[in-house]
C-alpha cells in the first residue's frame, strides 16, 4: 500500500496576486457570468474530452465581494505576491528540509470547472526534495508550492454553477509528500505532525476550513486514486480505511469476473408499459414526469453489484449521477423500492437474463438511453481490470467518484509575472526566522513545568507564547495550562473570539483589551456570561473556578470540564431532541446543525464542543434510526 499526502494551508494576510484581504464571507457586491473554453491543446486526450462534454455550455456566475478586485475577476493581470506570503512559503520549505528554488516560476494549471475565473490556477514551486522525520520513519517531501485558492462554490444548478470570489486568490501552501506512507493511521499522524510543524510559522490562517488534505492511495493490484478535500485529521483515517476496503473489494470483483462470462452486450427493453412498477414510487414518479423505463441485462454481474462488501452497483450509480442520471436500480438490490420478488423474477425472464446475469433498471428520457448504457459499459470494462484511476471526493466517512484521474497536469508558464529570484543572501535572512522545531519548543515548555500533552495542545492551538508568559507571571504551570486549555478549547471564533485576540497577541501587536483583562486579572468571560476565574487560594497557589452570571462560584477549585457530568449533557440533549421530534424524524442527521445551536445555547460553554457534537450526533442517529430510512433515499441525496 502506498499513500501520499497533499496538505494545503491557507496563509493569512493579503491574497497572493492582489492586495485584497484574505477573508471569507465578506459582503457581496453584484455578479457577472462567464463561460470557459476547453483549450484545444487538450482535446486529443480522452479524459479531457469527457470533461469537456460534461462542461459543455455550462455557465458560471461569480459573485463579487468586498475583498475582490479586477484581479479575481480576471480583468487585470496578477500583481506580485506579498513579501510575507512568499517568506512564509520559504519558511515552510525550510521547516520541511526542502531545498529552496533559485527562482519562483509561476505556472498556469488548467482547471475548467469554473472554480478559477481565469480557467487556470497559478502555482509555483518554492521548495523541493525535503525530508520530514516522523518518529523513526522519514517521509519524503516532493515539493512545497505556493498557489492561489479557488473560488468558494455557493450552489450548483443544472447548467450553472455559482461561485463567490471571496476565497479566490487566498494564498495556499501545498505540501506534497512522496508515497512513503504505509497505513491510514500513519497518514493521519504524518498530516498532524506536518500540520503542527507548519503552524509554527504563525502565518497559517486559523479558520477551521483553512487546512485541507488530498490523499493519493494505491494498493497492490490497484491503481492510483486521488481523494480530494479531506477537511479534518480524524477524517483522513476513516476515509482511507474505507477507500482501502473499496479498492480491495474491486480487486476481488475483478478476480471473480475473470472466471465469468462478462459481456457488455446488454439486452435492452423498453419496459415503460409493463405492469412491474405499479407499486414503485420511484418509477411511477418518473413516468409522471414523462420519463421511460428501460431494463437491460448485465451479463455475468449477479452478486457483485450489491452483496456484502461488493458494491459495483454503487460505482455505476455514481458515474451516472455525474451526468445527471439518477435512480439506477439493479437486481442485486431487489426486492425493494416497491418491486417484489415475483416482479424481479418476471423482469429477469422478460429480459432473458441467465444464471449469473444481473439486470439493471433505469428511468429516463429515451434520448439519454445510449449515453446511460455507454457509461455503464465503460464502468464494467474497468471492473474487469480492477481499480480505475480516479479522482474521488471525500465524504464524511468514505469517497465518491468525481472524474477520471487526469494525466499529468496541463500546465504552461504564467507570462504576466516575471521570475522571482530568491538569492542566497535573502534565503540566509529568512533562515534566521525559521521557528524552533516542535520538539524543541515542547521540551522548553516542559522545562517550565508544563505537562507534555498540554504543551502540545498549546502549540497546536498556537497559544504557547501566552502560556509561557502566564507561567512566568503566575507560576503554577499546570493550572495555567489547564486554564488556557479551557479558554482556547473552542475553535469557533464566534464562541470565544479567542482566535482573533490571539492573532493580534502572537503577532506582537498591541494586545487587545479583553486579552489584557484576561491576562491581568485571570478572568475569562464565556458566552452567556459565566466566567472562568484563575484565583490564588489560601496557600497562595493558583486554582480555577467557574463562576455563574451572578458572580457566584459554581464549581472549583480546578474544576474539570471534560466529562464532568455526561449525564447532565445527555439530559440537555435529550430534551432538545424531544422538543424537535418532528425535525429529527424528517431530516435525521440533517437536523444536526439546528439542534447543535440549540444545545450550545443551553450549555453555554460548560462542555467542550466536540464532546457535545459527538454525543448529539449519536443521539440523533439513535432517535432517527427507528424510522428506517432506506439507502436509496440517502444515496439520492449525495
Amino acid at each position: 500500500m502506498k499513500i501520499g499526502l497533499e496538505i494545503h494551508f491557507q496563509v493569512s494576510g493579503r491574497k497572493l496576486f492582489c492586495e485584497c484581504k484574505g477573508e471569507e464571507g465578506t459582503k457581496e457586491l453584484g455578479s457577472f457570468t462567464r463561460k470557459l473554453a476547453v483549450v484545444s491543446g487538450e482535446r486529443s486526450e480522452k479524459d479531457a474530452a469527457a470533461l469537456q462534454e460534461s462542461m459543455k455550455g455550462r455557465e458560471f456566475e461569480y459573485r463579487k465581494t468586498e475583498n475582490s478586485c479586477l484581479v479575481e475577476m480576471d480583468e487585470e493581470p496578477p500583481h506580485y505576491p506579498g513579501k510575507d506570503t512568499l517568506e512564509t512559503a520559504i519558511i515552510v520549505s525550510l521547516i520541511l528540509g526542502c531545498k529552496v528554488v533559485d527562482n519562483v516560476h509561476f505556472m498556469r494549471k488548467i482547471v475548467i470547472d469554473g472554480s478559477n475565473t481565469s480557467g487556470f490556477q497559478r502555482t509555483g514551486i518554492v521548495g523541493l526534495h525535503g525530508v520530514f522525520k516522523k518518529g523513526t520513519s522519514n517521509i519524503g517531501i516532493t515539493s512545497v508550492t505556493l498557489e492561489e485558492e479557488a473560488c468558494r462554490k455557493i450552489k450548483e444548478e443544472e447548467n450553472k454553477v455559482v461561485y463567490s470570489l471571496d476565497r479566490l486568490g487566498i494564498p495556499l501552501i501545498e505540501i506534497s509528500t512522496d508515497p512513503d506512507i504505509r497505513s491510514p493511521k500513519e497518514a493521519r499522524d504524518v498530516a498532524e505532525s506536518i500540520g503542527l510543524a507548519v503552524k509554527q510559522s504563525r502565518m497559517i490562517r486559523r479558520e477551521t476550513s483553512s487546512i485541507r488534505q488530498d490523499l493519493n492511495i494505491s494498493i497492490r493490484g490497484g491503481n492510483r486514486v486521488e481523494i480530494k478535500g479531506v477537511q479534518s485529521l480524524s477524517q483522513i483515517e476513516k476515509v482511507l480505511s474505507k477507500e482501502i476496503e473499496r479498492q480491495q473489494s474491486l480487486v476481488e470483483i475483478a478476480g471473480i469476473l475473470r472466471n465469468r462470462d462478462v459481456s457488455t452486450d446488454f439486452h435492452i427493453e423498453d419496459l415503460t408499459n409493463s405492469s412491474f412498477f405499479k407499486s414503485s414510487d420511484v418509477f411511477t414518479k418518473g413516468l409522471k414526469a414523462g420519463k421511460k423505463i428501460f431494463g437491460f441485462t448485465l451479463p455475468g454481474l449477479s452478486g457483485v453489484l450489491n452483496n456484502g462488501k461488493y458494491r459495483l452497483g454503487r460505482e455505476i450509480a455514481e458515474r451516472l449521477r455525474t451526468v445527471g442520471i439518477g435512480g439506477f436500480i439493479h437486481s442485486d438490490e431487489l426486492p425493494n423500492y416497491g418491486i417484489g420478488e415475483a416482479e424481479k423474477k418476471e423482469i429477469s425472464k422478460r429480459l432473458g437474463a441467465k444464471n449469473e446475469d444481473a439486470f439493471g433498471l433505469v428511468s429516463l428520457e429515451s434520448n439519454r438511453l445510449s449515453q446511460c448504457i455507454e457509461i455503464i459499459q465503460s464502468r464494467i470494462a474497468e471492473a474487469k481490470k480492477g481499480v480505475p484511476a480516479e479522482t474521488r471526493g471525500a465524504n464524511e466517512n468514505d469517497t465518491r467518484f468525481l472524474r477520471p484521474l487526469p494525466g499529468s497536469s496541463r500546465m504552461y508558464p504564467e507570462t504576466d509575472i516575471q521570475l522571482i529570484p530568491l538569492d542566497s543572501e535573502y534565503i540566509k535572512d529568512v533562515q534566521r526566522k525559521v521557528p524552533p522545531t516542535v520538539e524543541q519548543r515542547v521540551s522548553h515548555l516542559e522545562s517550565l513545568g508544563i505537562p507534555r500533552q498540554e504543551a502540545f495542545v498549546s502549540l497546536w492551538k498556537e497559544y504557547d507564547d501566552v502560556l509561557e508568559s502566564f507561567v512566568n507571571d503566575f507560576g503554577s504551570p499546570k493550572v495555567c495550562a489547564r486554564f488556557l486549555a479551557v479558554v482556547f478549547a473552542s475553535e469557533r471564533p464566534d464562541v470565544v473570539k479567542a482566535s482573533t485576540l490571539l492573532e493580534r497577541f502572537s503577532r506582537g501587536n498591541i494586545p487587545s483589551e479583553s486579552l489584557e483583562a484576561l491576562y491581568r486579572e485571570g478572568v475569562f468571560i464565556m458566552p452567556g456570561g459565566r466566567k472562568i476565574v484563575l484565583k490564588k487560594n489560601d496557600s497562595s497557589n493558583y486554582v480555577l473556578e467557574l463562576h455563574g452570571k451572578d458572580g457566584n462560584k459554581e464549581i472549583g477549585p480546578d474544576f474539570k470540564f471534560k466529562g464532568q457530568s455526561d449525564e447532565r449533557l445527555q439530559k440537555i440533549i435529550k430534551s432538545v431532541i424531544m422538543k424537535n421530534e418532528n425535525l429529527v424524524r424528517e431530516r435525521g442527521d440533517g437536523s444536526f446543525k439546528l439542534l447543535m445551536g440549540e444545545v450550545m445555547k443551553q450549555v453555554r460553554g460548560e462542555f467542550e464542543g466536540k464532546d457535545i457534537s459527538d454525543l448529539l450526533k449519536k443521539m440523533i442517529s439513535e432517535a432517527s434510526h427507528k424510522d428506517g430510512k432506506t439507502e436509496f433515499q440517502d444515496a439520492g441525496k449525495r
Partner: protein, 409 residues
Amino acid sequence: MSSDFDPGDRIEIQWKGTKFSGMFISRDERVTVIKLQNGYNLSLDNGSINSINLISKFVPKKTNISERTGTGKKVFLLGTGGTIASYVDYETGAVKPARTVQEMLYAQPDLAKIATIDAEIILNILSEDVQKKDWINIAKKVYEKADQEEGVVITHGTDVLSFTSSAIAFLLENPKAPVVFTASQRSPDRPSSDAFFNLSGAVKVAQSDVGQVCVVMHSSTSDDSLYIHSGVRLRKMHSSRRDAFKSINTEPIGMIDKNLEIHWRNYERLSKKPMKLYDKMSERVGLLYFYPGMSEELFNKFADINDGLIIAGTGLGHMTNRFISQVSDYTNQGKIIGMTTQCLYGSVDMDVYTTGRNLQKAGIIPLQDMLPEVAFTKLSFLLGNFDAETSRRLLVKNLRGEISGRRTE
C-alpha cells in the same frame, strides 16, 4: 557544462546536491528552465547547476489537425497580429500562434460551426508597431475579398484597434461586403479568453448586410453579450477589462446575444454604390496632445514636419494663447490644423471662450465630436488622396459616420 539541448529534450539535472529528470525548455545567460514530470517549470540559476545530462532527444508529437474549413456562409479571416488565435502545446508549455486556416480552426473550433472559413495572416506585429503603410496593405486585402462579396473579419491587437478600424473605414468607400474588426483582451490560450465569443460574434456580423466598418467586442465583463461599434466612433477606455471598448458620443450600432443572434439598433446597410479603394495616406499628419506649459519650440517643430495637425486640446477645444501667432503663420502656409478634445466625450465648441475664438481666427478648424485618433486617420487619408482645399472641406464633413450633430449623453 554543455548547453547544446533543444527544447523538449529529456535531461537529468544535478542541482544543490539533489537530482531530478525533466524536459529542457530554454537557457539564457542567467537561468536554465526545465519542466518537471508533474508539469512545473523550474528556473535554476546556471551557477547553481552541477551538471545536466541528456537522456533522450525530443521527438515532437504530431498534432492532428484536420483539413476541414467549416460550414456556412463564407467568411475571410485576416490576421494582422495580436494573438486572437493561438493554442498551447502542453507538452512543452509553449503558446503557439495559429498561422494557417487549419490551425486557426483548431484553436477556434466553434467557428467551423458558423461559417466556411478562409484565412490569411498578413501581418504579425505588435499593435503599437503598426504604421500607415500597414493600413494600406490591410485595406487592399479587404478590398480584394469584399470585391468577391465575402465578409471579412480582421483580427487585431486592442491597443491601436480604433486607429486601424477608422483608417480602413476611410480608405474603403462603400464596401461590397461587411468589414468587421475584433480582438481580445485575454489571450486565447486561457480558458477564460474573450477571443472565442468575440470572434464568433464578428463572424456572424461578417455574414450580415452591414455596410459600415465595425468592431465587435464584449459589452460587459460577462460572457453574455457583445457590442457592435462603428469603426470610427469607438475607443479603448480601459487597459485590461474585456469591455474596454466604448462607443463615444453615440450608441453602439448593435448587440449580439449569447446565442449569437444580432440585434441591430441603427446601422447602415451595404450600399449599392460602387466600392472604391483609396490606397494612399499622408505621412505628414500628426496628433498632438496639448498640455499646460507646452513649449513653443515643441509646437513649432511638430508643425514644421507636418502638413496636417490634429490637436487634442483641453475642454471645449483649447490650447494656449501663446501659440496663436504661429498657428496663423502655419495656416497661412496652407497647413491644416484641426481641434479635438481630450475629454473624448462631448463636442468641441470654440465659440464659447475668447481663446477658442482667437484660435479659430488663426485658422484652427473645430472638429466637432470627432475623436482625436479618428480625426488623425481621417486627415491622413484626406491629405494622401486630395488637395489641401478639398481636404479642408471634407475634414468637417461627415463621411463615414464619424461626426454627429446630436448627442444624448
